[in-house]
Symmetry: C2
């Protein structure tokens, strides 16, 4: 997905919120905004939002001197999600169609989103998403691709959401490689967060080698790009992965909730939708 003009004010807002989250004083906040203004002034029309986001959050970390502003928030999200884990498993145990329920729970976990500084209710989201109709519904194609795939590459999104991903992975009958960010960016899951959620017990956890907020293949390690090329099926979680990969072909399936109006419009659904969408060219 390209960067829309509506994203410009949002990047400034995000930079300011992230700077404050990182403990910036007023002078540092202003320095962050000035540098982000410079970045926005030079945006190439073809840039995707995660490419800009990577630069914005790098500015925040450098100007404020805080390498991981969302560390405490991420740990809190993971703890909160782990506390729900037994109830999610109980839901699955009584399900007629465990894959259906696990996919829905994985999408429910995507309600976590500190980039928009949203309030969210994880329990409410889990209940709602279990019965909410899909706004885009590629479940049949997804089941078929899953049936044929020898293994799955699973692209993580946020810390805490990792626990919901683990529940889906435990329901799949194929080996999973779970890819997390190569360094701290927003509240995105890194290796540390995946381990805290126990994902390593059910999947091989690898790094994309990049700290962009979505998986921008050209910014990932050669090793990860090779893995992506080899994969027959990619489960891509969350809005930023949609932004980065929506035009990278049909082997990717995007599982997400639309929280941003610009992304929702690009997907073609209302804000607050649940989406299981197959990638295009």
């Amino acid at each position: 997905m390209r960067t829309y003009l509506d994203c410009y004010p949002c990047f400034l807002r995000q930079a300011l919120e992230a700077a404050r989250m990182a403990g910036a004083d007023e002078r540092q906040q202003r320095a962050v905004l000035d540098r982000v203004l410079d970045v926005l002034r030079q945006i190439e029309p073809s840039s995707t939002p995660p490419e800009i986001g990577e630069r914005v959050h790098r500015i925040v970390r450098r100007e404020v001197g805080n390498s991981d502003p969302y560390r405490a928030a991420k740990e809190a999200c993971t703890r909160q999600a782990l506390a729900l884990y037994p109830r999610l498993k109980a839901r699955l145990a009584e399900a007629d169609d465990p894959l259906e329920v696990a996919v829905r729970l994985s999408i429910a976990g995507n309600i976590i989103d500190l980039a928009r500084n949203r309030e969210y209710d994880l329990e409410e989201a889990a209940e709602r998403v279990l019965t909410q109709p899909f706004a885009i519904d590629a479940r049949a194609a997804f089941r078929e691709a899953l049936f044929r795939a020898g293994w799955v590459l699973y692209l993580a999104d946020n810390a805490g959401e990792t626990v919901f991903d683990r529940v889906l992975i435990e329901t799949l009958d194929v080996p999973v490689i779970y890819a997390v960010k190569g360094g701290p960016i927003l509240n995105d899951a890194t290796m540390e967060d995946a381990l805290a959620a126990g994902v390593d017990r059910v999947a091989e956890v690898v790094s994309t080698g990049s700290d962009a907020p979505g998986t921008i293949l050209s910014r990932c390690s050669e090793e990860f790009r090779h893995l992506y090329d080899e994969a027959e099926l990619v489960i891509a979680k969350g809005q930023a992965n949609y932004e980065a990969l929506s035009e990278e072909g049909p082997k990717a399936f995007f599982l997400l909730q639309t929280k941003c109006p610009v992304i929702a419009r690009d997907v073609g659904v209302p804000v607050g939708s649940i989406v299981l969408k197959q990638g295009g060219e």
Copy 2:
């Protein structure tokens, strides 16, 4: 009021909305944003938001080649308010304390705000504000200043709100000079809008000589500045006049609803409050 860092994303959002309101195509919208980014990069820390707003909206008008993007919207607001006028007058006719009711109605009219592209319900606002407690209540000082003043300088805010201002002016026992913007800016009232609301029947209508969104004295005509200096009592409507004049001394009384969270915090009240505040140094 100084420009807060939270205003930066808001200026970009406002510029984009105003450009679209003016009929800009995508290329023009991008050109507007680029020029606004340049302005934001050079903000002096002491600038007030109306000073930046003046430059932002001048960029929109020039880049898009539309000298009055809000013309149709302003005319619609005035028509809507005029349709309510008989009911506002009926309210006044039955009031025990007409000044109290007229002040409240004038503040009710301040719900109109296209800078934030808000939906508003003028009738609901009029009913609500008639009984809503003041978050800041300088009514006693205002009555006293009014009692002593030989005449009043009344600074208009938005088109349509002008009709509510007329109702207050009709209730005052002193001559009023009603000052409107010197040229189109957002949905602010100009001479044309004041005449459409019939304010000229109850007050002398003058121009500030400036098309900034609030009354920035240094940008006004010499004639208007002289008028301001001479005035014993100034009624300043709306958020932008608060932003521009909050530190210009105690002869100004600000009548407004807080719609912006940054201004609300500066005033020291919640968003959605009604305010009658005396100016300070």
